[in-house]
């Protein structure tokens, strides 16, 4: 029983962080119909920046992440205005190509500027754990997941309780209807992309503490995050949360009770099975276009 609880708790802790990382990706897809393949590269870029500031100043990496939120918001806004907006009327495949190009550029720049090396931030608590009963809760993971959940909650409140958030959701549900009541599609898209990018500030700083990374790490991350949002339903925020928690728990349960070798495969098998019965994913909505 304790073994089961331990695996469950570890899985939820891992999944909570994945959820935050996937939230920006699913938001941008839902509102703008853009599959942002550069999301993983942005996370790794933030991780690198966090590491660099941490290494130079000793400030806690998670705190650095919070400070970086407005910075990454700005980066996202500029990226949208400068590049992404140019393909706003193109098909979704264009967005994949464009953002894949951005991902390669970010990787290349990181290679040149930061060097092709593994890094990881090691604040004092990185190898310590909280013990609750017989359960082991790694501190870094607990802090990371707490920060992730607070960020997700903030995102949820913004989307549901502010005019900006309502405009974003309206644009996502019915762009022409939203335009009729005076919501600017371009402005909303810029805002969405900026918010999506801002989530990587916190996600990337958590990554720098929990996982060693180097410039090419983004391939692993983007494939994992795409898996999560496909399972949850592309464009659904609760879907991303549930998908991420499922991935985390599937990993730890398989590692504990099955074989470590299958730990990462089980999740993708779960995606296949879910898509067989619900092609739109767990929380995705079926549209008239999909049925036709």
């Amino acid at each position: 029983m304790e073994q089961f609880l331990q695996a469950l708790v570890l899985g939820l802790l891992i999944g909570g962080v994945y959820a935050l990382m996937a939230s920006g990706l699913t938001l941008v897809f839902g509102v703008m119909n853009v599959v942002n393949v550069a999301h993983g590269a942005t996370l790794v870029g933030v991780a690198m920046l966090t590491w660099w500031v941490w290494n130079a100043t000793g400030v806690d990496p998670l705190l650095i992440g919070i400070v970086l939120v407005p910075v990454m918001f700005g980066v996202g806004w500029v990226a949208y205005r400068g590049v992404i907006s140019r393909i706003s009327t193109e098909s979704v495949s264009m967005s994949v190509l464009l953002t894949f190009g951005i991902a390669l550029t970010v990787e290349g720049v990181l290679n040149v500027v930061a060097g092709n090396k593994f890094r990881s931030a090691t604040p004092s608590y990185f190898d310590e754990s909280l013990r609750v009963g017989g359960l082991i809760l790694p501190k870094a993971q607990v802090y990371g997941v707490t920060l992730a959940l607070v960020t997700l909650l903030a995102l949820y409140v913004v989307l549901t309780h502010t005019w900006t958030g309502r405009a974003i959701r309206a644009t996502s549900q019915n762009p022409s209807g939203a335009a009729l009541v005076g919501i600017s599609a371009a402005g909303t898209s810029a805002l969405t992309f900026a918010i999506g990018t801002a989530t990587t500030a916190v996600g990337g700083s958590i990554l720098s503490v929990l996982y060693p990374f180097f410039p090419a790490s983004h391939y692993d991350w983007i494939s994992r995050l795409l898996g999560i949002i496909v399972l949850g339903g592309m464009g659904s925020l609760p879907g991303a949360l549930v998908g991420a928690l499922l991935l985390g728990v599937a990993e730890t349960m398989t590692a504990t009770y099955g074989s470590l070798q299958w730990a990462t495969v089980v999740f993708y098998v779960a995606i296949l099975i879910v898509l067989l019965f619900r092609p739109e994913g767990l929380f995705g909505s079926r549209l008239r276009e999909d049925v036709a």
Binding site: N33, S129, A140, S172, G235, S259, G284, L287
Partner: protein
């Protein structure tokens, strides 16, 4: 809340698969006897993973080759001709590496080729070279499968293939008094052609000595979370943990063991601890104490040209110490150079015959090969001591005669 007004969801999937479809397959045509012009430089074709998954070791290998070429050219080249490297990027992709070597050999008509990095890439690349009857000296790629194909032109420029990489560690354990030997052991390993055979062969040898296996698991390369593994292993209390770790996974497991609070009496990891600074900063320098690994090269080894190599590398790259991968590449180039110089011409078959029959001195030490190109020496056993790496075996290469036989608790 659900977002989405997407009329073309299916095309998303299609677009994603486009991303995966980067790569060109190509097939080689046999090279007819090359008429080597005696004028002009000798060109050596190399394809390396300069981007993608293996970009890190690939970049190091490139530096090793370049330092070698500069040193050779300063000394008047090979056979009186300058050496020119033609290096292309295969993006860590098997199809691209095949296309690259095919082009280098059949279109660019390079005089010689040198190997790429990792068994994964050297496996198909060496087949292209073999088909074109070009000598293929590889700086990495010790997976057992490399040497079961009966290739005549393949040579692995390290001391031993993967199955024999940990022999020296087993020997060390054998040399300990009965009471100091581990009684139980855990063997987690990444499913990597260069780590898995090391650990599997070690497990077999140690079981033969009566060390009981309490845990043995293979995990895929994309495994990032090791907490539940650490909990499971800690529950079995093994004296020895021997991990087939590439890099991140080595850091990941050690960190998780620290979080769980379990210190094994002995810790062995394959490649991860050889990444000096990156390893010690990843797990905390104090925690490196006592970690064992095997390695092909040491910066302080008194092998011919080693000091010159370390110095030339430091001069070229901001006083950095070469990584093992750079040294291996340098050694591979030394092997090829020796072959060409001894034969006195660029005759691929004669060079291959020479290397099959003779010992070659390199910065890694002397190397010899059997008829499949598998090397016949042994690796160095290294251990982290006081934040530094020491070579503890074999005796003639050791930098200290002290070993830490019981690993101190995590700090």
């Amino acid at each position: 809340m659900t977002f989405g007004h997407n009329p073309a969801r299916r095309s998303t999937v299609a677009a994603l698969s486009v991303v995966a479809l980067v790569g060109v397959a190509a097939c080689g045509t046999p090279e007819s006897e090359k008429e080597s012009s005696d004028a002009g430089p000798i060109t050596i074709g190399i394809s390396l993973p300069l981007t993608g998954d293996f970009s890190q070791p690939g970049t190091q290998a490139k530096r090793g080759y370049e330092v070698w070429a500069d040193m050779v050219n300063e000394q008047g080249g090979i056979l009186g001709r300058d050496v020119k490297l033609k290096i292309t990027d295969d993006a860590s992709n098997q199809d691209t590496v095949v296309a690259d070597y095919t082009r280098l050999i059949t279109q660019d008509k390079v005089d010689l080729v040198l190997g790429t990095f990792s068994s994964l890439l050297n496996f198909p690349a060496s087949a292209v070279a073999e088909k074109n009857q070009m000598v293929f000296v590889e700086p990495a790629g010790g997976a057992p499968e490399m040497f079961t194909r009966g290739f005549k032109y393949l040579f692995f420029a390290q001391q031993a293939t993967a199955q024999h990489q940990a022999d020296i560690f087993v020997k060390y354990i054998e040399g300990l008094p009965e009471s100091a030997r581990p009684k139980t052991a855990a063997y987690p390993t990444q499913d990597d052609p260069f780590t898995r055979p090391v650990i599997e062969s070690m497990q077999k040898q140690l079981e033969g000595m009566g060390v009981k296996t309490v845990y043995s698991e293979v995990y895929p390369a994309d495994t990032t979370n090791f907490q539940s593994t650490a909990v499971t292993i800690a529950g079995k209390k093994p004296d020895l943990i021997a991990q087939g770790a590439v890099f991140e996974d080595g850091i990941g497991l050690v960190r998780s063991l620290q979080q769980v609070g379990y210190t094994p009496k002995m810790l062995f990891q394959t490649s991860a601890p050889s990444n000096a600074g990156q390893y010690s900063s990843g797990i905390g320098e104090a925690n490196t104490d006592g970690v064992f690994y095997t390695v092909s090269w040491n910066e302080n080894a008194e092998t011919p040209n080693n000091a010159e190599f370390v110095k030339a590398y430091a001069d070229a790259y901001e006083n950095e110490t070469p990584a093992e991968d750079a040294a291996d590449a340098f050694a591979a180039a030394e092997v090829l150079q020796k072959g060409v110089e001894e034969v006195g011409s660029i005759d691929q078959t004669k060079i291959a015959d020479y290397l099959h029959e003779n010992e070659v001195e390199t910065i890694l030490g002397p190397l010899t090969w059997d008829e499949t190109g598998a090397p016949q020496s042994e690796f160095l056993l290294a251990q982290w001591q006081d934040g530094k790496v020491e070579i503890v075996g074999p005796e003639e290469a050791a930098t200290t005669d002290e070993t830490i036989d019981v690993k101190p608790e995590w700090k």
